[in-house]
C-alpha cells in the first residue's frame, strides 16, 4: 500500500457500509479526520524503513509450516453453542441477514 495518509469522508462512508456500520453524517464528519491521523502515524513507519527492510506479512522468515491430516477432537455442539446469544435446532441463530450470500 502506498504511503498515503489521507482517507476521504466518502471512503470512510464506503468502508462503514462494507462493515455494516450505520454512521450518521455527524459521525462521519467526526471519524474521517481521526482515521486520517491514524494512517499518518502508520505511514511515518514507512518513512523510517530503509531500502534494506523489505515489506513482509510475517515477522519470522519461515515457510511450509504444515499439519498432518489427522483428526483432532474439537468441541461438542453444547460447548460450541455455549457462548451463542441464541440457539435453535442446534444451530447458531443470527438476526435477519442484510444483503446477500457472498
Amino acid at each position: 500500500m502506498p504511503a498515503r495518509a489521507e482517507i476521504s469522508r466518502d471512503e470512510v462512508a464506503h468502508l462503514a457500509e462494507l462493515a455494516r456500520i450505520d454512521l450518521s453524517d455527524a459521525e462521519l464528519d467526526h471519524l474521517a479526520p481521526q482515521l486520517s491521523v491514524i494512517l499518518e502515524s502508520v505511514a511515518s513507519i514507512t518513512a523510517v524503513a530503509g531500502d534494506d527492510v523489505p515489506p513482509t506479512s510475517h515477522p519470522i522468515p519461515m515457510t511450509n509450516v504444515f499439519r498432518d491430516d489427522v483428526v483432532r477432537p474439537g468441541l461438542t455442539a453444547e460447548e460450541a453453542l455455549s457462548g451463542a446469544p441464541a440457539v435453535e435446532e442446534q444451530r447458531f441463530s443470527v438476526p435477519r441477514i442484510l444483503g446477500d450470500e457472498q
Partner: protein, 503 residues
C-alpha cells in the same frame, strides 16, 4: 414479479458472440479441515465438527493441512499449470455469518497454481467430437463456508426471512477454486463446451482421488460467468455470475439461459447489470442476486497468522509422478480396448457413467454388458429418481455380479432388472435377492422337458416343420414354453431341448 424478457438462442447468436468464464469449487476429501483438525464427514449433526479455530474464537490459530496443499498442487499439475515457488494465503473480508471469523482465508494475487489448460472433448451433434483447449487462469486454496438455514421466509431464501440458523460443520473444509480464462469464439457450442469442461474436470478430480466430486452434495460446484459482445466486435461485455449451478445439465442450461437474457437486454438498448444471479434448478431460470462487489471491497491482505507456502521443486516433481493418466488419452485408449463406437463412447461419458463402466469391466463384466446395464437400465432409474447415476445405490461390482448370474444361466435379463430393483431397495447382495425374490431360472430338465412336450403336442404343424429341417420355426415353440414357465427358463436351453426332441 415481472417476467424476464428472453431472445431465442438463435436470435442471440445472430447478433452476439458469447464469452464464458467458469469457476469451479472442489471440496477436497481430506480427513480434516484446511486449517484445523476437525473432521469433514458429510451429513453429521449440526455443529459437531467444530473447534475454536473454525469457529473463529479469539486466540485460535490456524495450521495448514499438508494433504490439502498436496491435493492443490496435484490438481494444478493435472491442469498443466505452473506451481508457485512461493505463495501466501490472504484474508477476504466480508460480513456474513457463514464465516464466523468475518473473513474467509483464501488466496488472492498469489495462487498456488496458475497458467494452465485443459483439452476438453466436446460432443458435436451429428458430428465428430471436437477438442477445445480451455485456458486455466489459476487454481487456489481456500476454505468452505458454513451452511445457513433461513427461517420465516416463504421459500427458505434469504429474502423475507426473519432470522437464520448457522451450522459450521462445513466451515473450514478445504476448497480448491479453479478459474478459467475467458472462453471465447465458441458461438453456438458455448453451452456444450461449458458442460463438457465441467464434466471432464470432474472426471479428472475423481481420477486424482482428491474429492468425491458429487455435484448433488455440493462437493463440486460451478459458477458460470457469461457476457455477450456484439457479433464480430471482439472485446468482452458486462458479465453476470450465476452461482452454484449444481448439475452438468444445469451448467449447459444456465449458459444458454443467460445468453438469451443478455441478448434481450442488449437488443432493446438496455445494459447488463454486473451482478450475481441465482440458478433455479426447477424452473431453469436465473434471478437477480446482489450487485457484484469489486475485488477491492473485500480488502484482501496477506494472512498474518500463516507463513508462506513454498513447495520445493523436488516435492512438485514427486507429486507430478503420482498423476493419473491424462483423461483424454485414457478415454481414447479405453474406447479402443472396449471396442465402443464414437457414439457409444459419447453416450457413456454423457451419462456420467464412464468411471462406472470402467469399474464394472474391471470387476469382470464384458464392455458390452457393462454399457448395457449402466446406460439402458440404471441411467433411466437415476433419471426417474432425479439423482446422478453415481449416486445410485448400485455399485460397479454388483452390476458385474448381476451380469455374472446372467452368464451362468441363473437368471435372464428380465430377472436381472428385478435384481436391480432389489439392490436399489437395499435388499442385499445380488445372490441374496435372487434367492429371496425366487428369481432363479428353472434349469431342471425334467420340468423343462415336460413343458417342451406340451408345446410340441399343442403345435403339431410347427413341430413337423422343425423335423423337416426348418429350425427357425423353433422360435414359436420357445415362446410357448417360456409362457408356460412364466419366463423363468433359459431360452437357450429350451431351444436345445426342442431340437433334441425333434431331431
Amino acid at each position: 414479479m415481472s417476467t424476464t424478457e428472453l431472445k431465442t438462442f438463435e436470435e442471440a447468436l445472430e447478433s452476439f458472440d458469447p464469452a464464458m468464464g467458469l469457476e469451479v469449487h472442489v471440496e477436497l476429501s481430506t480427513l480434516t479441515k484446511m486449517f484445523c483438525g476437525c473432521p469433514t464427514e458429510f451429513g453429521a449433526e449440526p455443529n459437531t465438527q467444530v473447534c475454536p479455530t473454525c469457529l473463529g474464537l479469539p486466540g485460535a490459530m490456524p495450521a495448514v493441512n499438508a494433504k490439502a496443499v498436496e491435493a492443490a498442487i496435484r490438481i494444478g499439475l493435472a491442469l498443466n499449470c505452473e506451481i508457485a515457488e512461493w505463495c501466501r494465503f490472504a484474508r477476504k473480508n466480508y460480513f456474513y455469518p457463514d464465516m464466523p471469523k468475518n473473513f474467509q482465508t483464501s488466496q488472492y494475487d498469489e495462487p498456488i497454481a496458475f497458467e494452465g489448460y485443459m483439452d476438453v472433448t466436446v460432443p458435436v451433434e451429428g458430428g465428430e467430437d471436437e477438442i477445445v483447449r480451455v485456458a486455466i487462469e489459476r487454481a487456489h486454496m481456500e476454505e468452505d463456508t458454513g451452511k445457513s438455514l433461513h427461517v420465516g421466509g416463504a421459500t427458505g431464501r434469504i429474502h423475507g426471512a426473519d432470522h437464520s440458523l448457522v451450522d459450521y460443520n462445513r466451515a473450514g473444509i478445504p476448497l480448491i477454486e479453479i478459474v478459467t480464462k475467458p472462453i471465447t469464439g465458441m458461438g453456438e457450442k458455448a453451452p456444450a463446451v461449458a458442460r463438457a469442461y465441467v464434466a471432464q474436470l470432474r472426471e479428472l478430480i475423481i481420477a486424482l482421488g482428491v474429492s468425491d466430486a458429487r455435484m448433488d452434495q455440493g462437493s463440486i460446484r460451478a459458477d458460470v460467468n457469461l457476457s455477450l459482445a456484439p457479433k464480430g466486435a471482439g472485446g468482452l461485455g458486462t458479465r453476470s455470475e450465476t452461482k452454484n449451478v449444481n448439475s452438468l445439465r444445469s451448467v449447459e442450461r444456465a449458459v444458454r439461459y443467460e445468453m438469451q437474457r443478455h441478448a434481450a437486454l442488449l437488443s432493446s438498448g438496455g445494459s447488463v447489470l454486473q451482478e450475481t444471479r441465482h440458478w433455479h434448478e426447477d424452473t431453469g431460470i436465473t434471478t437477480s442476486g446482489r450487485e457484484k462487489s469489486d475485488a477491492e471491497d473485500y480488502r484482501y491482505f496477506p494472512e498474518p497468522d500463516l507463513v508462506p507456502v513454498a513447495p520445493s521443486r523436488e516435492w512438485v516433481e514427486e507429486l507430478r509422478a503420482t498423476l493419473p493418466e491424462n483423461p483424454t488419452v485414457k478415454r481414447a485408449r479405453l474406447q479402443a480396448e472396449w471396442g465402443f463406437s464414437d457414439l457409444e463412447m459419447r453416450d457413456t461419458v454423457g451419462a456420467g457413467a464412464f468411471g462406472l463402466v470402467e469399474q464394472t469391466i474391471a470387476a469382470g463384466a464384458t464392455p458390452t454388458a457393462a454399457r448395457k446395464w449402466w446406460l439402458s437400465e440404471l441411467a433411466r432409474r437415476a433419471n426417474e429418481a432425479g439423482v446422478e447415476i453415481t449416486a445410485l445405490a448400485v455399485t460397479p461390482a454388483e452390476v458385474a455380479a448381476v451380469q455374472g448370474l446372467v452368464d451362468a444361466g441363473t437368471i435372464n435379463d428380465k430377472m436381472a432388472r428385478q435384481v436391480f430393483d432389489g439392490l436399489l431397495a437395499g435388499e442385499g447382495t445380488p445372490e441374496e435377492i435372487v434367492a429371496s425374490r425366487g428369481l432363479a431360472l428353472v434349469s431342471d430338465d425334467g420340468a423343462l422337458g415336460a413343458a417342451v412336450d406340451n408345446a410340441i403336442a399343442a403345435n403339431p404343424d410347427v413341430a413337423q416343420k422343425i423335423r423337416d429341417g426348418k429350425v427357425a420355426a423353433a422360435g414359436a415353440l420357445i415362446g410357448s414354453v417360456m409362457k408356460e414357465m412364466r419366463g423363468q427358463a433359459d431360452a437357450g436351453r429350451v431351444r436345445e431341448l426342442i431340437l433334441e426332441k425333434l431331431a
